[in-house]
Amino acid sequence: MSTQPALVSENVQAIENLEGGPARGGSFRGRRIGGDSWTTTFLLALCSLTVLIPLYVTIAMAFKTTEQAVEGSAFSLPAPFSIDGFREAWSLTDFPRAFTISLLVTAGTVFGTIILAAFASYAISRNWERRLFRYSFFYLLAAMFIPFPVLALAQIRLTGLAGLDNPAGVTLLHIMFQLSFSVLLFTAFLRSIPMELEESARIDGASTWQTFWHLIFPLLAPMSATVGIFAFLASWNDFMMPSLITSDPSLQTLPVVQSIFQTQFSNNYNVSFASYLMAMAPAIIVYIFTQRWVMAGVTQGAVKG
C-alpha cells in the first residue's frame, strides 16, 4: 500500500495530464492510434447541451422584456434586448445589500477556514505522537459524518441564544462544517513536506511561530487554494443554513433572497431570471479562473489513497 500523499499528487498529475488537450504520444489513454474520435466528441457535445441549455435560458430570459418573457418561448433570443429585468431586480431585491452580505459571509468562511484549519493541522501533524493532538484529529474529522439537518434545530436555538442568529453565526457554522475536510487535506499535505526544511529554519534560530508563518504556511498555498475554493462554493451557494439561522430577512444572503422574492417576482420572468443570473454569476466567474483547483480538489477530497 502506498502512502497517501504520493497518490494524492498522482491524482493531481492525472488531472493535469488531462488538461493538456488532445492526448499526444506518450499518453496511454488513446485507444485509437489513428487519431481523435469525432463520434465521441460529437456525442459528448450533444450531452453538454443539457448543461448549456438551462444556462442559456437563464441568460436569454434575463435580457428579455417582461412582455416577451411572459409570452414567448423560453428558448427564443431576446428581441428587443433589454436590461430592464436587471434594473428592477437590482432595486426590488436590494441586490447591493444581499451581495455584500453574501460576500462577507463567504470571505469570512474562506479566510476563517484556511486559518483555523492550517494552524490546527500544523499543531496536529507536528505532535502526532501526543495523544491529545492525535485524538483531536479524529474528533475534528468526525464532523464529516454529521450533516447539517441533524444539528439544525439545536443550532438554530443556540445561535439564537448567543445572539448569532445573523450572518456572523452563519459564517461561523460554515467554517465549522468545512473544518473536517480542510484539516484532512492540510494534514495530508503537511506530511509530504520534508522535515529537514523546518529543522534548518530552527537551526537558524526561528521560533515555532516564525517557522510556521514564514516557511510552512506559504508552502501550504496550493492546498489553501483548494480548501478556499471549496469553502467559497459551499458558503456562496448555501441556502438551507442561512435561511434557518438568520432571523432578519433583510440580512439574508443571495440564494435566500431569491426564495424570499419568489412570490414577488410573480410572472415577471425577466426580473426573476436577471436576479438568478446576478446571484450565480460570481461563482461561475470564480470557477472559470480556478478550474484546475476545483477539479483537483474534488479528486483529493474523495479519493484518498
Binding site: 488531472i15 489513454r29 435560458v57 423560453a74 500544523y122 501533524s125 479519493v303
Partner: protein, 308 residues
Amino acid sequence: MATTTATPVTTPHAPRPEAGPRKRRKVEPIYYLFLLPALVLFSLAITLPAVMGIFYSFTNSIGFGEWEFVGLINYQAMFSDPAILQSYLFTFGFAAVTVVVVNVVAFLLAVGLTARIRFKSGLRAIFVIPMVISGIIIAYVFNYLFSNSVPAAGSSLGISWLSESLLANPDLAWVAIVVVTAWQAIPGTLLIYIAGLLSIPGDVYEAADLDGASKLQALLRITLPLVAGYVVINVILGFKNFLNAYDIIVGLTNGGPGTETRSIAMTIVTGFTGGDYAYQMANATVFFLITIVISLVQLRATRGRSAL
C-alpha cells in the same frame, strides 16, 4: 500493510527522526494555541448541538419554556407517524434512484472524456459547471422549465403526461427532483471517475485488443472491474448527500404536491416552527444514527479512502 489500521486517514504518521528517542519531549505551548481555537469553536458549534439534540429528544420541549423527560415517547410516536414514515420512504427511494442515475451517466461521460476526443478541456470544463451553481437557484430555473417549457413541448408533441407540469403531478414530481439533483451531482462524480479511469495503465487495453476483445467487452470486463473502488466511493458519497436533500426540493416543489416530496431534512426543520421541537429532535437523532451506520459502511467498504 497500512490498511490494517483501517485507513490511510488513520494511519499514524511515519515516525519523525526527532520523535524516537525523545518521545516524551515537552510540547511547545504555542502548539496548544494553534489547536485550541479550532477545538473550542468546533465543540461549541458542532458537539454541543449534537448532544443537546439527543438530550431534548427525550423531553417534551416545544423549543422554549418548561419541559420534562418523557422517555422514549417521541421515538415511539415517530415510528407510527405517517408524515415521518412518508418522508423516510420518499428520501430513501429518491436517493437510491438518483445514485443509480448519477453514477451511470457520470461513468459513461467519464469514459467519453478520457477517450481521444477533440476539445477535451473545453468539454470537461462545461460538464463541471453545474457543481458551482447554487442548488436552490438552479431549482428555480428548472421550476420554470418544468412548469412552462416542458408542458408546452409535451402538448405540441401530443404526450399527455408531459403536457401538464411534472411538479404538480403527485406521482411524477419526484422525477423532476431526481433530474435536477442529478444535473448538479454529476460533475463531482464524473471527476472522481475520470481520476479512476486515468489510473488504469494503457497496456491492459493493448493486451485486450490483441486478444480480440471488442470495445464493449473491454469496457465491461476491464474498465469496470478496475474502477470498482471508485464506484463504491461514488455510490456511498452520493447516497449520503442525497439523503440530506433540501435546497433543490424547496426550489422545485417545496415538498408538494401535498407532502408527497417532503424530504427528511424538510420534516426535521418543521420542528422549528411547528411546535413539535423535541419530537423532531428524536427524528433528527434517528436520522443521525442512520448516517453513522452508512458512514461506517463507507469506512469499511473504502478502507477510509473516501473522506467527504
